[in-house]
């Protein structure tokens, strides 16, 4: 935070502060999350993005979780086995917070939106999947990508190739080597010059599905987040 932003924020929120400060001490019984956690992957504007990515939705609930919280090292090993690759780098860790948007139509749960961070050739890539209650991909969205060919990979036409796929199809994809079989082999790279980012997007999609399988779909049978 910097002087200009401080001053700007103070002027902008000064009035609300007085009211909020009064409430602070009433709210002392409430709890709050950790401040210095690893970086997560959230939608930039959830209200707008959920409505756009899941047009039939009327509302959503945000659930925060992490591998550390859901099962620790044992779960991490399971997720790595499912992914077929180890979590590597200093940012792909057990304590990364994940944000799951549980989507509703009226009071009925109709699906999920979930994003993951993935290391790309020139920067972080944020890949979101729109999933139905069975774990089938309904939408694919790259929120952020730094690449000379980002436009092609962020294009809706590329994302449409993922629709209908599930974690089962992705078992044919080797996230470590990039070797693909079955339906995944049919996903065309719209930017052959950006092979590394194409592979990163596929790895992110698989990681996303494996995480959702552990956090949501498998957890439903063990009393976790309900399917």
């Amino acid at each position: 935070m910097t002087p200009a932003l401080l001053t700007y924020n103070i002027f902008k929120r000064g009035k609300g502060f007085l009211v909020l400060a009064a409430l602070t001490f009433i709210l002392l019984v409430a709890s709050s999350g950790a401040v210095w956690a690893a970086v997560g992957c959230d939608l930039n504007d959830p209200d707008r993005d959920v409505a756009r990515l899941f047009p039939e939705s009327t509302g959503y609930k945000t659930i925060y979780t992490s591998i550390a919280q859901k099962g620790g090292e044992k779960l991490l090993a399971k997720i790595e086995a499912g992914l077929g690759d180890r979590f590597h780098g200093i940012y792909e860790t057990i304590d990364v917070p994940y944000t799951i948007y549980e989507i509703y139509s009226s009071k009925k749960r109709i699906g999920y939106i979930h994003g993951v961070n993935q290391k790309g050739q020139y920067g972080g890539i944020q890949v979101f999947l729109v999933l139905d209650l069975e774990g089938r991909i309904k939408g694919f969205y790259i929120q952020k990508m730094t690449s000379r060919h980002a436009g092609k990979l962020r294009d809706a036409a590329f994302g449409r190739q993922f629709i209908g796929l599930t974690i089962r199809e992705f078992t044919d994809y080797d996230a470590a080597t990039g070797k693909a079989g079955g339906k995944i082999a049919g996903i065309k790279n719209p930017a052959p010059e950006a092979e590394a980012d194409f592979r990163a997007a596929l790895r992110a999609a698989k990681k996303n599905l494996v995480l959702m399988d552990e956090f949501v779909y498998k957890a439903a049978s063990t009393g976790g987040i309900q399917k």
Partner: protein, 397 residues
């Protein structure tokens, strides 16, 4: 022999729920008071630390130029104004100046950030003079660029985390289509440096076609030097604006102090409510025990004895409530910190609530003194009870 304290204690135990509620009321007031006074001190200390962490006390910019990255982002990367780097020599000549460092802020539009694109900011710096000013910066990985014209960057902790970069990785500057190698990643500082990407000044000047131009000069003033005098002298330089971080701090403190007065008045109201609670509890207890007090007087108790007995009850309530409140404040200081951080328009890094022994003792003494004052009227009332009227059940209340 049974002591005054034991009698008072037993009396309070006779109405456990009422006593408990009164103690909770005092504890809450005491908690609010300790937390607010702790916040008063903690906030200023944290703000001072934040300002010190900026590394320089004065900044010079071309008139109308946004003076740091956040403003630049708010303005969509536009509005940058430039000055000649040679200006730094004029600044260096001032006897009050200890060190200076030139900075070139630059921003590019990244169309692939979110739905409608975003701004990526870069700071062009000279590692030797910049690092000398920001001595608190340390590296998580790697180090500063060694060549002043290299296509290398050092990333702040959060910038690296967002971009998932490690030393040796490449980054691409959108719009300019230029690649940089990451040579260093800084440790978290809690300042704007965490979100900044630093590149060699010469490299950025070349990429943005701004040879010999900079946007900012950071100035460290010598210890004991007259900063105001230096500011006045610097204002004589053509077409520049001076930002004094002391002024920024004073402005923030002024704005925060207004809010603090409001919050402290809430604490005062809470204390007044607790006082009324104490008076009510003790007075009710006196009225309920009217006949008992009458009998005590009949068997020789003097008004002062009754006064002391009732006052001791007040003292027990206040000390218990006060200690409980302090314990709450100490145990929940971290939570208070998080909640305050959530509602404040600006919260500096580090702990915002600073509770030490002096504060704890001051609060306890204040609560006890306030409580004793609250106890005067009920105790005086009890001391004045006429024995016969009280025993008859007609005290004239």
């Amino acid at each position: 022999m049974i002591t005054n304290f034991q009698v008072a204690y037993k009396n309070l135990l006779r109405k456990k729920v009422r006593t408990l509620l009164t103690i909770i009321g005092i504890a809450l007031s005491s908690w609010v008071l300790v937390s607010l006074l702790g916040f008063n001190r903690g906030y200023e200390r944290a703000l001072n630390k934040d300002i010190d962490n900026m590394g320089f006390q004065l900044m010079i910019m071309a008139k109308g130029c946004p003076y740091e990255a956040a403003t630049m982002m708010l303005k969509g990367g536009t509005g940058l104004k430039y000055m000649n780097k040679s200006l730094i020599e004029d600044v260096d000549r001032q006897p009050e100046v200890e060190k200076t460092t030139p900075i070139l802020m630059s921003a590019v539009f990244d169309p692939n950030k979110g739905e409608s694109g975003g701004i990526a900011g870069y700071f062009g710096v000279e590692p030797v003079s910049f690092a000398a000013m920001k001595t608190f910066l340390s590296f998580r990985q790697g180090g500063w660029f060694t060549d002043p014209n290299a296509y290398e960057v050092v990333m702040g902790y959060e910038a690296a985390e967002l971009e998932q970069r490690e030393v040796g990785d490449m980054i691409l500057m959108p719009e300019k289509n230029v690649e940089f190698r990451v040579v260093g990643i800084l440790n978290r500082t809690g300042t704007q440096d965490d979100g900044t990407i630093f590149a060699p000044l010469g490299t950025l000047q070349k990429i943005f076609d701004r040879p010999h131009e900079i946007t900012t000069i950071g100035i460290k003033v010598k210890k004991g030097a007259d900063s105001a005098k230096l500011e006045a002298k610097l204002y004589k330089l053509p077409d520049v604006q001076i930002v004094s971080l002391q002024q920024v701090k004073d402005t923030i403190m002024k704005l925060i102090s207004t809010a603090k007065v409001m919050v402290l008045s809430i604490a005062v109201i809470a204390i007044l409510i607790a006082m009324v609670g104490v008076i009510n509890t003790i007075l009710t207890s006196v009225w309920e025990r009217m006949q008992e007090i009458g009998i005590l007087k009949t068997i020789g108790a003097m008004p002062w004895d009754i006064f002391r007995l009732i006052w001791t009850e007040t003292l027990i309530l206040c000390i218990t409530g006060g200690i409980l409140g302090v314990v709450f404040a100490l145990l929940l200081a971290r939570l208070t910190d998080i909640l305050i951080r959530g509602v404040l328009p600006y919260a500096p890094g580090g702990g915002l609530v600073l509770i030490d022994l002096r504060l704890v003792l001051t609060t306890l003494v204040s609560i006890i003194v306030i409580g004793l004052f609250s106890g005067i009227y009920p105790a005086w009332k009890a001391g004045r009870i006429r024995p016969l009227e009280a025993i008859r059940g007609d005290s004239g209340r």
